[in-house]
Every structure is written in structure tokens, then in C-alpha cells.
């Protein structure tokens, strides 16, 4: 993002600016990727007789609900920052909320990592049973996206301290909202 991807040869009146259109296409492929994973989940689950975590392991439903809230708040704050950037004299405030959004996003990833460590300790690993394999595959794929999304917020935030670019902000939001939006689906499918 930021200064690295620059548009060239702009001669046509653009309906959608290039960074946004590019990100829209990328988000589209990501959604197809997750659709692939989710359909794999349904296929495997439909033929599985024991669709439960390994014996003696209980998934941290409540603390993950709290974590879900943190991720949501991160998304809301990023949007709030976007609105603030458009107002006069609110630049500093916008940057502040954008940074909080990054912190909440990283908290989400960090907290999930902490939960994984505890699940491992209780004996639920990638190979325990087919449920735990699917669990780690789907949640792990999402975590990889959440991590890269949080880093992207930080990276763009650094760029915005010099110069704000609205198109880049919209592109960033599109990616982050995808990460935030897919999470409840995975949470609902795997934790309940």
C-alpha cells in the first residue's frame, strides 16, 4: 500500500480509483479462498461422526467472545478515524484512533495465540482429531489475515503521519472489514 503502489498513465476519468479497485479484486479472491475453506468445513463435518474437540478440552467460547468484541471495536475505530480524516483539524485525533485500531487488532491476534498455547497444553493439537485439524486450519488462516491486516494498519499509519491518502485508507478499510466480517462466521461455525 501507501507510496509503493502508484498509479500511472491516468488519462481516463475514473469511476473507481485504482488502489480501491485493486483491493476490491483482492478482497474478492480472499472471500473465495475463505468460501473454499468453509465449504471444506461443511463437507468434512457432514461425513464426520465425532464432531467435537478431543476429550477433556473445552473451547474458550466466552473469552473468545470478548476477543471478538475487541476485533469489532478495531473495525469501528478504523472507520471512525476515516471519518475524522475528512474533518478539518482532526488529523491528530484520527491518527490516534487509527493507532488504537491497530493495537486492538494486534491484541486480537495475540490473545488468540495465547488461547492456542493453552489449547495445546490441554492436548488439542493439529493432529488430535479431524475437528481440531479443521479448527486450526480455519482459525489459523484467519489469524494469518488478521496479523497481516494489523501490520498493514501500522504501515499505512506510518505513511499517513507524513501525508494522508484517502484512496489508500479506503483500500485498507476494505481489507480490514473483510477480516472483521469473516470472523463471526468462523466463530459461529467452530466454537458452537
Amino acid at each position: 500500500m501507501s507510496g509503493h503502489v502508484m498509479a500511472s498513465g491516468a488519462v481516463q476519468k475514473k469511476k473507481i480509483p485504482s488502489p480501491i479497485l485493486g483491493m476490491l479484486l483482492f478482497v474478492f479472491t480472499e472471500i473465495m479462498f475463505f468460501s473454499g475453506l468453509i465449504s471444506a468445513y461443511f463437507v468434512i463435518r457432514s461425513r464426520s461422526n465425532f464432531w467435537v474437540p478431543p476429550e477433556g478440552v473445552r473451547l474458550p467460547v466466552l473469552s473468545t467472545a470478548f476477543n471478538t468484541f475487541a476485533l469489532f471495536l478495531s473495525g469501528v475505530l478504523l472507520y471512525y478515524a476515516y471519518r475524522l480524516f475528512d474533518m478539518k483539524g482532526k488529523r491528530e485525533k484520527a491518527l490516534f484512533y487509527m493507532f488504537i485500531s491497530f493495537l486492538l487488532g494486534s491484541f486480537f491476534v495475540g490473545f488468540q495465540g495465547f488461547e492456542w498455547v493453552r489449547l495445546f497444553a490441554y492436548g488439542m493439537t493439529l493432529k488430535s482429531n479431524i475437528f481440531s485439524s479443521v479448527f486450526y486450519l480455519l482459525i489459523g488462516s484467519h489469524a494469518a489475515h488478521a496479523l497481516s491486516g494489523a501490520l498493514a494498519i501500522l504501515f499505512v499509519w506510518k505513511g499517513f503521519r507524513r501525508k494522508y491518502q484517502k484512496d489508500v485508507m479506503i483500500a485498507l478499510m476494505m481489507f480490514w472489514f473483510m477480516v472483521v466480517g469473516i470472523w463471526p462466521v468462523l466463530y459461529g461455525l467452530l466454537y458452537f
Partner: protein
């Protein structure tokens, strides 16, 4: 993007360039190199099939393991490392900015990254041939459990390397696809409206959209398969609660749209060539565009026709039979529109035109034989025989070889500023198309006779080892060798013409599209001043006009 035309070093000009034309050439030459490997592999296993157990000249004895490795990687290379990079990436990168009249792609650095990732994927694939156990031997479709467990495919390192290479290659084309679509939408020359875009660009871009929509599930499947191969998880292992058919769904959800991903750019190239050499307006521009969109959309609803035998609810088989037969309608309509374009035109049989016409004729055979395979009833008999193999080679060879040759002969003067030799071109044409038919027509008959695919030697099958069947195999192999040796004519013509060919002017074919308004070869930045577009791309032989062509950028 800065426009300083300072001298670049060789290194930064050819290896780390962000110029779309250089990246296109990188894709083209990498694709041609991979095609040589893929062709050589075909030679290896065809020799084994025709003359079982002989020492193949240049390769040695083809053992069962080597046979599987050759077959698997022939398929993978020809689809992922030849058809995709040449048809989509090379022609897309070269043509999109030139034909819409702009100076470069919207994201030039992303474009360079795309080629670099592609190059790494090709290197990983080639490296996999040299690791212990050899390259992957689980067929290009990579069905588990064969592909998931080293004890079945016997390639513990080759299998994950192959999968990694394919995944990297996909990332490369996703980046490329984002670039293509964004550039076409946002960087068109002033005055170029939707209906003024040359059909080849529409087709490349629609193909990119189809690719981007279908690649995600396969990448998800590839991650799961990689886990199965390396950590023995069992997503596709029924003993561990997984489902092997799941892979087939994820693979073919990508794999069948992929057929149309490569078909569409080929169709587009042919459209450009036949309008120029028939000196006639493309018949039904909008019809062709709508059928392209229909083909792209329908291609997502046909995948399970690959699973009629693997196991699918018969009610679903009915649905997929219908969608599969349906998709032949838009494709046929396209072919009819092309034939209507030819009708009454003043046809010049130059080399590109010969290849374009051959594309239509050969692809027709591929399409018609597909109907038997799309119907679940007959497919149960034909499944996994050489009939299937001959069918898809009758589609893929016209797509990835014949149309590519049409494109190369047609745009060569623009790419290198010189002409290819016409006589050598015609020799190459006949030397490619005649042996091509002699390779694959016998394979239809072998398939009808019940010859199964992926069998290393038929000597142990008395019904299939009959001499008259073996004669057909020998005919196919000899024809393959003839066809491969005629490619030497092409390679000579190609490289000789780059340096010594007849100099080409700006617009040697008297064509309308914008790339012919640039110098041959176009400099960095393409146009001295960015062109303005006044009319649709196919205004040939307009009544009342002195010249029989009317460039898009000419004011009156």
C-alpha cells in the same frame, strides 16, 4: 511513475524492469522455455508407449516411476507454465497498455513482483525433478490419496514441491489479474468507451476475473493437501475423518473454469487476427462479448462433470450434465460469429491467419467430442480413457499452441520491429497442424477401444496389446516427433528474425487497433503522445472510404 528516459543498465532493464513490454517478454520466453521441457516430456512417455521398454534416445529407460513423473509434469507444465504465462500474462501484459493507448500498467511494481514470483515457481518446479525420489508423480490433477501420501506416489519431496510451485504460480497470476482488470478499467485512452475496447482485451480481462474467482478454493485445497503431505493430518483421508472427494471438488471448481481462462484469450487473439486478414468488421461484437460473459459465468457450474465416476449423487449428475451441455452454446455462438466474420471477406492467407483458421477447425473437434464426455451416460464409458485425453488435447493444443502461434506471428513485427519469414512460417504451420491431427485422431480410436489412461505399458493387457492398437500408438508417437521437429523451424525463424528479419513499419498489417499507432518496437512509454480514440476497433472496408482500414486514433 516518473518518465525520465535515462540509460538503464542491462541488469535493471531486463531483469528488474517495470515496463510492461519487458515483463511480457520475460513471460513469453519463460513460457517458451517451459514448453520445450513439456514437449520433451511428452516425447519421453510417448516413446515408452509406442516402443515399450526401449532406451529412449536422450532420456534413457523410462521406468514406471519416471513415466508417472513425465506424465504428471507434462500436464502441469503445459497448463500452468505454458498456457497461463503465454496466453494471459505475456499477451495480456504486452497488449493491454498498448491497445488501450496508455504508457504502462496501473501497478508496474506489482507487475514485476508477479513475474518474479512466477519465475520462482518455475525454478521450484524444475528443482523438484532433481530431488531424491524425483518430481511429483501423482498426475496433474493431484488426487488424494495418491498425491497425499508418499507411500503411494513415491515422491516424498517432489509432491510438496510441486504443490508449492503451483500455489506460487497462482499468487503470481492473482497479482497479474488485479493489474489487468484495474488497468483496463482505469487507463483507457480518452474517447475509448466500453464498446471500443478490442475483443482480445475483453477476453483476457474476463478470463482474469474467472481465474481470480476460481483460484481461492484451490489455494485453500492446496494448503490442506500440503498439510496432509507434510504433517499427515488427513483432511482428505477417510480413515482420519477426511474426504478424498473434497479435493476433487476444490480442484475442479478451479480446474474447469481454468479451461475457459485459457480458452478466452485464445479466442480473443483469433478474433483480432481474422478481422485483419479478412478485412472485415468483426461480426456481432456485442454478441461475442455477451457470450464471453456467459461462458465465464457458466464455467463455474460445470465442475462436477469430472466426478461422474468418482461418486456423485445421480440427481446432481443430471444438473451438471445440463450445465455442461449448456456451456457449449455460448462457445459455439462465438465460433459462428467468427465464421460469419470470414464470410464474404477478402481473406489473405498469411501465416497468422492460417493458424487462426486452424484454431477454429481444430477447436471445433475438441468441442464436439466434449459433448460425449459432458453427458453422464456416455461419460461412464469414456471416463479415464484416451478419448478424454484426445478430447482435451483437441481443445488445449489449439488454445495453447495454435492460437499462440497466430498471436506471435501477428504481433511479432510490433514486438521486435521486424517480420518473420513467411515461407518458413507456412512450412511451420503445415508441419504443426498435420502431425497434430495424426497424434490425436488415433488416440480417439484407442480410447473408444477401451485404452485406459496413465498406464505405463499395455503389454500386460492382452485386449489392449493387439498389434493394430499398437500400430495406432506408434503412429501417434511418430507424428509427435515430426511435430516437435518442425518446431525447430519456428525457433530458427523466431530468433533469426529478431536480429535479421525484414524491417517492419509501424502498421504492416494495416490494422486499426492502437498498438499499431506506436513505433515498432514501441519505446519505453509506448506513444510519443498518448492517443485519442474516435471509433470502434474493427472498422475495415468501410463503404465510401478510400482505405480499407480506419485506425481507432485517426480523427476522420
Amino acid at each position: 511513475m516518473s518518465h525520465d528516459h535515462h540509460e538503464q543498465s542491462f541488469f535493471s532493464k531486463y531483469l528488474f524492469s517495470t515496463d510492461h513490454k519487458v515483463i511480457a517478454m520475460q513471460y513469453l520466453f519463460t513460457g517458451m522455455f517451459m514448453a520445450l521441457i513439456g514437449g520433451f516430456f511428452a516425447y519421453g512417455f510417448r516413446m515408452q508407449l509406442a516402443f515399450p521398454g526401449i532406451e529412449v534416445p536422450g532420456l534413457g529407460l523410462v521406468t514406471p516411476n519416471l513415466y508417472n513423473e513425465l506424465v504428471t509434469n507434462h500436464g502441469s507444465i503445459m497448463i500452468f507454465w505454458v498456457a497461463m504465462p503465454v496466453l494471459i500474462a505475456a499477451f495480456g501484459n504486452y497488449l493491454i497498455p498498448l491497445m488501450i493507448g496508455c504508457d504502462d500498467m496501473v501497478f508496474p511494481r506489482l507487475n514485476r513482483l508477479s513475474y518474479q514470483i512466477f519465475l520462482i515457481s518455475a525454478i521450484v518446479l524444475i528443482a523438484s525433478f532433481f530431488v531424491p525420489g524425483g518430481g511429483f508423480s501423482g498426475a496433474w490433477t493431484s488426487y488424494p490419496p495418491l498425491s497425499a501420501q508418499a507411500k503411494y506416489n513415491l515422491t516424498p519431496l517432489g509432491a510438496p514441491m510441486w504443490l508449492t510451485a503451483v500455489a506460487l504460480e497462482f499468487v503470481a497470476f492473482l497479482l497479474g489479474g488485479i493489474n489487468f482488470i484495474t488497468t483496463l478499467m482505469n487507463s483507457r485512452a480518452p474517447g475509448m468507451k466500453m464498446w471500443d475496447i478490442p475483443i482480445v482485451l475483453w477476453m483476457i480481462v474476463i478470463a482474469s476475473i474467472v481465474f481470480m474467482a476460481s483460484a481461492g478454493p484451490l489455494i485453500a485445497g492446496a494448503v490442506m493437501l500440503l498439510f496432509d503431505q507434510i504433517y499427515h493430518i488427513g483432511f482428505f483421508n477417510p480413515n482420519k475423518g477426511g474426504d478424498p472427494i473434497l479435493w476433487q471438488h476444490l480442484f475442479w471448481f478451479f480446474g474447469h473454469p481454468e479451461v475457459y481462462v485459457v480458452l478466452l484469450p485464445a479466442m480473443g487473439i483469433v478474433a483480432e487476427v481474422i478481422t485483419v486478414f479478412a478485412r472485415k468488421k468483426l461480426f456481432g461484437y456485442k454478441t461475442i462479448l455477451y457470450t464471453t460473459i456467459a461462458t465465464g459465468t457458466l464455467s463455474f457450474f460445470v465442475w462436477a462433470h469430472h466426478q461422474f465416476v468418482a461418486g456423485i449423487d445421480p440427481r446432481m449428475a443430471n444438473v451438471f450434465t445440463i450445465t455442461t451441455i449448456l456451456i457449449s452454446i455460448p462457445v459455439t455462438e462465438m465460433c459462428f460469429a467468427y465464421i460469419a466474420t470470414l464470410f464474404g471477406g477478402s481473406i489473405e492467407l498469411r501465416t497468422p491467419m492460417l493458424f487462426a483458421l486452424a484454431f477454429l477447425a481444430e477447436f471445433l473437434i475438441g468441442g464436439v467430442t466434449g459433448i460425449f464426455l459432458g453427458s453422464s451416460g456416455s461419460d461412464i464409458y469414456f471416463h479415464d480413457t484416451y478419448f478424454v485425453l484426445a478430447h482435451f488435447h483437441y481443445t488445449f493444443v489449439p488454445i495453447a499452441i495454435i492460437s499462440v502461434f497466430a498471436g506471435i506471428y501477428y504481433w511479432f513485427p510490433k514486438m521486435f520491429g521486424r517480420h518473420m519469414n513467411e515461407t518458413l512460417g507456412k512450412i511451420h504451420f503445415w508441419g504443426t497442424v498435420i502431425p497434430f491431427n495424426l497424434i490425436f485422431l488415433p488416440l480417439f480410436f484407442l480410447g473408444l477401444a477401451g485404452q485406459h489412461r496413465r498406464i505405463y505399458s499395455y503389454e500386460n493387457f492382452p485386449e489392449l496389446a493387439k498389434p493394430y492398437l499398437q500400430d495406432l500408438r506408434i503412429l501417434a508417437t511418430v507424428s509427435l516427433i515430426v511435430m516437435l521437429s518442425f518446431q525447430v523451424v519456428f525457433l530458427f525463424n523466431f530468433f533469426y528474425s529478431i536480429f535479421k528479419g525484414k524491417k517492419a513499419e509501424k502498421n504492416p498489417w494495416r490494422a486499426n487497433t492502437l498498438e499499431w499507432a506506436a513505433a515498432s518496437p514501441p519505446p519505453h512509454g509506448n506513444f510519443p503522445e498518448l492517443p485519442q480514440v474516435y471509433r470502434p476497433p474493427y472498422e475495415y472496408s468501410v463503404p465510401g472510404r478510400e482505405l480499407d482500414y480506419w485506425p481507432q486514433n485517426e480523427k476522420a
